[in-house]
Symmetry: C2
Subunit: 320 residues, 2 copies
């Protein structure tokens, strides 16, 4: 079975939303990613925690069959994040970040991880992302997440990382900022020239756009009329009646997206499109409850049902 090497943060989050408040609950980009991806594929987790990391949280990861050989225990406290959402659930306000053990994290991969085919570089320092990737012998597909902090302060390092990346995941503000271009189509084209062959733009409650160069046909109908075979796939987000906590939505999306690709071990256009939907499905579940509370009780039958709802929700007939 194909497995995914996932590097990123494992954290304790304190989160306040209009619908409730939690303190020091399990969070972190690699946690959400791994638990989400574990529904589709084997996941090998590369991250660090402090000696305050709780046994019940280890058990949760183990219960999802996530391999923890790459989870390093370090002297000190686990990474802390504190944030708040107003009625506009699209954006968190960070109140406090304590990197703790994460500031000294220099991951060395367990030998078994070095022949990973699927590598997910979570939202961490681009140099660290490269350091991890350099330890993987022949990665088949490299997926990278990033955020405004790295785009602003580590632009050159990020560009260097992007050279080795197949798929970049960003939100729309990050895409505009990275490409220094307000128009997303032009921005995507610019980013595609820097290395990635696919750019996935997450737009929160507005869904997802995926841009790619379609090498499968020169006249494919999903190509934009620009003449350079830039193609696009768009999907709305699942319209939820009850959103409790948006934390981890993007990482859960990434988990469903990469998890599905690794699970079927394919990366053709149709699989990529299905992966976008599975990613959207996982994000929609994630936000229904705080922390990983919804993901940890989720069943694959529920995932399949919501996929079918996405299909029904977006379906329309061709013109006669």
């Amino acid at each position: 079975m194909t497995s995914i090497l996932s590097v990123g943060s494992v954290a304790y989050d304190s989160v306040k939303t209009p619908f409730g408040e939690v303190e020091e609950v399990l969070g972190g980009s690699a946690t959400y990613f791994s638990v989400s991806a574990s529904f589709f594929s084997q996941v090998d987790l590369v991250a660090c925690v402090g000696n305050d990391f709780r046994k019940q949280d280890v058990q949760l990861l183990e219960s999802r069959n996530i391999d923890l050989e790459g989870l390093e225990y370090m002297e000190g406290q686990t990474f802390r994040w504190k944030g708040e959402y107003s009625n506009d659930l699209n954006e968190a306000q960070t109140l406090d970040t304590q990197l703790n053990v994460f500031s000294d994290f220099r991951p060395t991969l367990p030998v078994r991880y070095q022949d990973s085919s699927y590598v997910f570089l979570g939202n961490i320092d681009p140099s660290l992302q490269r350091q991890v990737l350099s330890q993987v012998q022949t990665p088949q597909l490299v997926i990278c997440d990033t955020m405004n902090y790295w785009i602003e302060g580590h632009f050159e390092a990020l560009l260097e990382t992007l050279k080795s990346v197949d798929i970049l995941l960003v939100n729309d503000a990050e895409a505009r900022q990275l490409a220094q271009e307000p128009n997303l189509v032009r921005g995507a084209r610019k980013i595609l020239a820097w290395g990635p062959r696919i750019v996935v733009i997450k737009r929160g409650e507005y869904g997802v756009l995926m841009f790619y160069m379609d090498s499968e046909g020169t006249q494919a109908e999903d190509q934009l009329p620009s003449g350079d075979s830039l193609s696009v796939f768009g999907a709305p987000a699942y319209p939820l009646e009850d959103v409790s906590d948006p934390t981890g939505a993007g990482d859960s999306f990434a988990g469903g997206f990469v998890g599905y690709l690794a699970g079927v071990n394919r990366c053709d256009v149709q699989s990529l499109r299905q992966a976008i939907i599975f990613g959207s499905v996982m994000a929609s579940f994630c936000v229904e409850k705080f922390s990983l509370d919804r993901l940890k009780e989720l069943t694959f039958t529920e995932i399949e049902l919501r996929y079918k709802e996405f299909k029904a929700m977006t379906q329309f007939e061709d013109i006669p």
Copy 2:
């Protein structure tokens, strides 16, 4: 052939965007709606203009076979609107509004219009909308547009109008404001209890959501899991590389949407979904140039081609 009665404003607009500036060009909600709808159906225009209304603008409407018997010439100036868009093309800043002849507009329908089956009540005073509708004997489908100004200042009058409306078109901010509910799903359900059986929520560059009660099946997969047969259809907007002027996008959407329904003379779920796509197609063309410059040169072949691009752009396979 089924025709649409369309009431709304005909205006001269002065518009500034990051991509250019135009002065006193043809605009107005009924103008954009009618020209857009005219690609699909016969349109009867009910509006008023001043004696400054230009012959070339009459000719443009005539060239689209729009019936102008209901276009009233009044003493004074045509309605003026002046607005500006910043880099965020989703929202216009109104710099000046001069109602002029429009402030005394009390439409009396030509006899031939009184047996219209499709009635589009453009974005005008809700009392005026009702006054027009009351002159139509047996309308088959009533579609209504509105905006924050009427929601804020004429809420009761608007609620009264909604009782007779089948389909309400609003943007997401307006839906939230009208329903006094930040969550769109809950908001849509609230609005559906007031009269309309379908709510179409326009989200600019983020596409469209349509909420409706699905009477066609009690277990349809497009139903949300709320148990009350609330169903949803979602479509992304066409990702454009060059947007010149967003003015009229919403009205062009409405024109394609209502025009298609009237053209096929159907209102089942599949036709509604196709209509949403045709609406999105027309909006995407509208914004490519200033004023009606793109719509007036448009061909039906281009419309069909872009519909197929929408189909290709949103297509994904079901799970095995």
